[in-house]
């Protein structure tokens, strides 16, 4: 058993699975909706049932010249208002792969820092679920 190196993996965007380069961190959160039922008259217990599943996440890195092709797709998708496929692979070869067939990039933040280059970060969320293999 060994720890997985953080640099082993990939984050890809679009139908062509273009790798998004120069990312220092990617984070994904899978949510399971939990609904409460109860208490009822004469029954004080609270039951819980599973609702829908969802996935969302964020990534951050820095911009380079020329612009990384994957980062360019992130920018063009939020700018164009188009949904896009996102894939996160963990490990090399991939031990776990999360695929969001239809993702919405909801936020992109970038800008120069005089002594640190140009950081870029973005948030995304699934529309219609995900697959985890």
């Amino acid at each position: 058993m060994a720890l997985i190196n953080g640099y082993d993996g990939a984050f890809k965007i679009g139908a062509g699975s273009t790798a998004v380069g120069y990312l220092t961190e990617v984070s994904v959160e899978i949510d399971q909706e939990v609904k409460k039922q109860g208490p009822f008259v004469g029954n004080s217990t609270i039951s819980k049932v599973r609702g829908g599943k969802d996935a969302k996440g964020s990534a951050k890195g820095y911009m380079v010249s020329p612009i990384d092709s994957g980062q360019a797709l992130v920018l063009s998708n939020i700018d164009g208002g188009t949904n896009v496929q996102l894939v996160l692979e963990v490990g090399n070869p991939a031990l776990k792969t999360l695929t969001i067939a239809t993702a919405i990039i909801g936020n992109v933040k970038f800008g120069p820092k005089a002594d640190e280059g140009v950081p870029i970060s973005f948030d995304f969320e699934a529309s219609g679920g995900y697959t985890l293999t």
Binding site: Y7, A10, Y22
Partner: protein
């Protein structure tokens, strides 16, 4: 992109800088007077010596890729301060055009350490650069 470490980063860095500075450093015994780490005994001034600061080339890690980075000091040595500064000034443009096949090598100016002359009357002028190496 590759996650394999750039284990030949020292050779890439040393060769790219020597080739870039060769045109401005003159020659001695058939070699450009842009020396990595140490100038040979008896090499005439002016000359350029460059070395990795703190002796460290570090991996630059990202998701799905690894590069390398090092801080490099470029020192111009001459018999007077003006000549040292003039030679150092000539090294600036070549540092913006570092090249090595298969890699992208970029230098970013960081600062200029001040080095006092030694007892033998050798004056130095220096720039510190951050050199980043990525697979092309």
């Amino acid at each position: 992109m590759s996650v394999a470490p750039i284990t030949d980063a020292e050779a890439v860095l040393a060769t790219a800088i020597r080739n870039a500075l060769a045109a401005v450093a003159g020659t001695y015994q058939g070699r450009p007077q842009a020396y990595y780490q140490l100038a040979p005994q008896g090499a005439p001034l002016p000359l350029v010596v460059y070395q990795v600061q703190s002796g460290v080339i570090a991996a630059r890690e990202r998701v799905g890729a690894r590069g390398a980075t090092a801080d490099v000091t470029i020192r111009a040595l001459a018999t007077d301060a003006t000549a040292a500064r003039a030679l150092l000034a000539l090294t600036v443009a070549p540092m913006a055009a570092l090249a090595f096949a298969g890699y992208t090598v970029t230098a970013t100016y960081l600062r200029s350490p001040i080095i006092p002359p030694d007892a033998a009357g050798t004056y130095q002028s220096a720039h510190l650069w951050r050199v980043d190496i990525e697979r092309a």
